[in-house]
């Protein structure tokens, strides 16, 4: 019984953490371009903006 009192909240908390992470990722638009994200992982640097006036 005492172990359950710990384990169940922990299990729920970890699950909720995962859920929260997913919804955060969803809201920040990380699921908008799954094909592109796969490629971006292989890139060294994102393209830089040339300095103004150069």
């Amino acid at each position: 019984m005492t172990s359950l009192a710990w384990l169940i909240p922990i299990a729920l908390f970890l699950g909720a953490l995962g859920l929260g992470g997913f919804i955060w990722a969803l809201k920040s638009g990380q699921y908008e371009d799954l094909d592109g994200a796969a490629w971006r992982a292989l890139e060294d640097d994102p393209p830089e903006k040339p300095q103004a006036g150069v």
Binding site: L4, G15, G36, A38, L42, D45, P46, P50
Partner: protein, 747 residues
């Protein structure tokens, strides 16, 4: 450091550009709408392309951030705060230099993308999945517990925990079903969402009551798992629609044309053609398409109207002649005055015809809805009957209601909800791989029902480009000389001559100093005299010869040479028609073109049944006649004049070279120079239909086994949940087969 700043700006700005429901839209829309531009980018296929696009866009002055979206084939550009609005042209030019065709998307289209209905659905799906997993964990513990029974405190604790998780989740994740059910109930009708909502709420409330009382049966797990599977189905369905719509908007955006509008002070401004208003004066260069309906204000030219009327012979247009959007200016540069807003323009007439035609199709009921219409009342009466039956048998209201809920849950159509969307996703992915874009969500179902295929001629059965027909009778020297003149012109006949010469000699060089008189022909002053290439009148020939050929070539001291042209069939037109005929399709050709042209195309394509010289409303009349005879018609066409017929037909498809309005009216758009995608489209549609029925069979088969058990009171929540999951997984696996299956078309 510049990189970090750019990335930061991007993050912040993108967040601003996507208004959340909670924040006030006025605050955000105004500034972000003025600085953010979304472009559709064609041919962006890999990480390298994505990077090239971003680099090219960042190189444009005034651009603060650029981000390409590979899945959507779009790029979003954010301008510096100080930079002006509407600087789309330099962006398009920059991408053009990098090798990508791009076009601005209409802002209202992009707003749709932001309010993507699949996104909140995915969040609800995640919440339901979380709850389902956790409650299942607790329930399995309860059910595997060694007879803990109702009195056991752990048992009660687990039920209470389940209740605490389930109730808010049901209230949040079930909203799409509840609002849909409430919507139809208010109108006094029933759809599949009604038994779903009823089962979910009844089971949740009943379980809560039983948790209070401490009985050993609760339904929280079944209730939440049901919701989870139903949301998967709903999400898949929504995703096909969103993706198809986005791709279609890109396609239409990329083909939207520019208009060079001449202002009062004589300056020329480049505007997207959708922004043209009546009264504007527009400069149209040779080879360009007219951006709007209107009249020629100055200059004389020839106009290729094949896209609109299906007539392949170009028409001469002088001042005050009417020209239509979509036709090509073949001669010299002209100015036109737009008249598009008047209600009697061709576009407006076609629009009205399309609206009437589409209303008729709007009444089409989707396969899943038809199944639901018959299924929902059955489920309700079955559950009610079980309740009454057990009450009569003296089981008490609580036990009877529990059994009724079990019946509702068992019959609840998770597999049924997944059956059609899963097949749709697999089918549209398969078609997408083969260069066919499925636009209408119910297009597959309508395509599968067709038994007559009606083709348009110009641009559909044929390539829409004339080619030299009598090349064999023309000797090398003449062809070479004529092609030197022809290479200087953009007229399709002249281009065809140049093409023929290119095929024979390898390369063609244009003669210097060739003069073109729009509507007549070309001339070139040589030492030996003047050479001419053009109409019979232009070459000084008499009327008898005028109609016998399309183009004449004359030079001093030689007999005039005639050039004849034909619009060649797509290379696999005959094969495609044969395949359709073998499959039991009746194939017809309806064209607005001249009789001779249509007759020869029909015989070459093996089509026995053809009609020529038809106007848009006559095409519709023919389709209506076929419909009255009990046929379901597939219309394949590309011209502006086909648009109403495409909308009126039971199902429709058009090549990607078609007019915007035709693509809008079509269920599917296919790419490439071949006609065979039509066969693939029909084969996939028919297979998808068969698979949907198989899936219904799986779903019903499972009901036949489990419903009697539920009515008899043998189904506990665990069994219900497992049975439900199994049938859903079976249905999904069945649909996945469609992606790789080898298909043959059968009527």
């Amino acid at each position: 450091m510049a990189r970090t700043i750019a990335a930061d700006a991007l993050g912040v700005e993108f967040k601003n550009a996507q208004p959340e429901a909670a924040s006030s839209p006025e605050n955000i829309r105004a500034p972000s709408a003025s600085r953010t531009i979304t472009l559709a980018v064609e041919d962006m296929h890999c990480g390298g392309c994505m990077r090239k696009v971003e680099t090219a866009l960042l190189g444009v002055p005034g651009v603060a951030a650029a981000r390409a979206n590979l899945s959507a084939r779009r790029a979003t550009v954010i301008f510096d705060r100080g930079a002006g609005v509407g600087a789309v042209a330099p962006l398009v030019d920059a991408l053009d230099k990098a090798g990508f065709k791009a076009a601005e998307l209409a802002p209202e289209t992009v707003d749709n993308e932001k309010n993507n209905p699949a996104r909140p659905l995915l969040a609800r799906l995640a919440v339901a999945g979380f709850a389902a997993a956790n409650i299942m964990l607790l329930s399995v513990s309860v059910w595997s517990g060694k007879g803990g029974g109702a009195g056991d405190p752990t048992h009660a604790l687990f039920h209470w925990l389940s209740a605490v998780i389930a109730l808010p989740v049901v209230a949040y994740a079930g909203q799409p079903f509840f609002s849909s059910a409430w919507g139809v109930l208010k109108r006094g009708r029933v759809n599949m969402d009604v038994p779903i909502s009823l089962a979910i709420w009844l089971s949740a409330i009943m379980s809560l009551y039983q948790t209070f009382r401490g009985t050993d049966q609760v339904y929280f797990d079944a209730c939440v798992t049901l919701l989870f599977f139903l949301l998967i189905g709903r999400y898949l369905d929504q995703r096909v629609r969103v993706k198809a719509r986005g791709a279609a908007e890109n396609l239409i955006g990329l083909q939207s044309r520019w208009a060079h509008v001449i202002a009062q002070d004589g300056t020329v401004e480049r505007l997207p053609s959708r922004l043209v208003e009546p009264g504007m004066r527009i400069a149209v260069a040779a080879g360009e398409r007219f951006p709007a309906d209107g009249v020629i204000a100055s200059g004389t030219t020839t106009v290729d109207e094949s896209l609109i009327t299906g007539e392949t012979t170009p028409r001469t247009a002088a001042v005050d002649a009417v020209v239509y959007a979509g036709s090509v200016n073949l001669g010299g540069p002209v100015e036109m005055e737009a008249r598009a807003a008047e209600s009697d323009t061709l576009l407006a007439q076609i629009g009205r015809l399309m609206a009437t035609a589409e209303q008729a199709r709007g009444r089409y009921v989707r396969l899943a809805d038809r199944a639901a219409r018959f299924y929902a009342p059955m489920v309700h009466s079955l559950a009610l009957a079980s309740f009454i039956g057990w009450m009569i048998a003296g089981a008490g209201w609580e036990h009877s209601l529990t059994i009724a809920i079990a019946v509702l849950i068992i019959t609840c159509p998770c597999a049924l909800a997944l059956a059609v969307p899963a097949v749709q996703v697999a089918a549209s992915a398969r078609l997408f791989d083969k260069g066919i874009l499925l636009k209408a969500p119910d297009g597959l179902e309508r395509l599968a029902e067709t038994d007559v295929a009606v083709f348009d001629k110009t641009g559909t059965l044929t390539a829409g480009i004339p080619s030299l027909a009598n090349g064999d009778t023309i000797d090398d020297a003449t062809l070479k000389a004529a092609s030197a003149l022809a290479a200087a012109s953009r007229h399709p006949y002249a281009q065809a001559v140049a093409q023929a010469a290119k095929a024979r000699f390898g390369a063609v060089s244009a003669a210097g100093g060739v003069e073109e008189k729009p509507g007549f022909g070309l001339r070139w002053a040589t030492d030996g005299g003047e050479e001419r290439l053009g109409s019979a009148a232009w070459c000084g020939l008499d009327d008898a010869q005028a109609s016998s050929a399309s183009l004449w070539y004359t030079r001093p001291g030689a007999a005039p040479v005639a050039f004849r042209f034909e619009d060649k069939l797509r290379e696999d037109a005959a094969v495609t028609v044969d395949a359709l005929t073998r499959a039991g399709y009746r194939v017809e050709l309806l064209s607005g073109d001249r009789i001779e042209a249509v007759a020869s195309a029909a015989s070459a394509a093996h089509i026995a049944d053809w009609r020529a010289g038809l106007k848009p409303d006559e095409k519709i009349a023919r389709l209506d006649k076929l419909k009255a005879e009990g046929h379901r018609v597939l219309m394949v066409g590309d011209g502006l004049n086909d648009a109403p017929a495409l909308a009126a037909a039971h199902a429709s498809a058009s090549p990607s070279s078609a007019a915007d309005i035709s693509q809008t009216a079509s269920d599917a758009v296919f790419q490439g120079a071949k006609l065979s995608p039509v066969v693939e489209l029909l084969a996939t549609a028919k297979k998808a239909r068969r698979m949907s029925f198989q899936n219904f069979a799986i779903a019903f088969g499972y009901n036949i086994v489990f419903v009697p058990l539920a009515i008899a009171g043998f189904v506990n929540p665990l069994v219900a949940a497992i049975a439900m999951s199994t049938s859903s997984i079976l249905v999904t696996l069945n649909a996945v087969r469609l992606r790789t299956a080898k298909l043959e078309i059968k009527a």
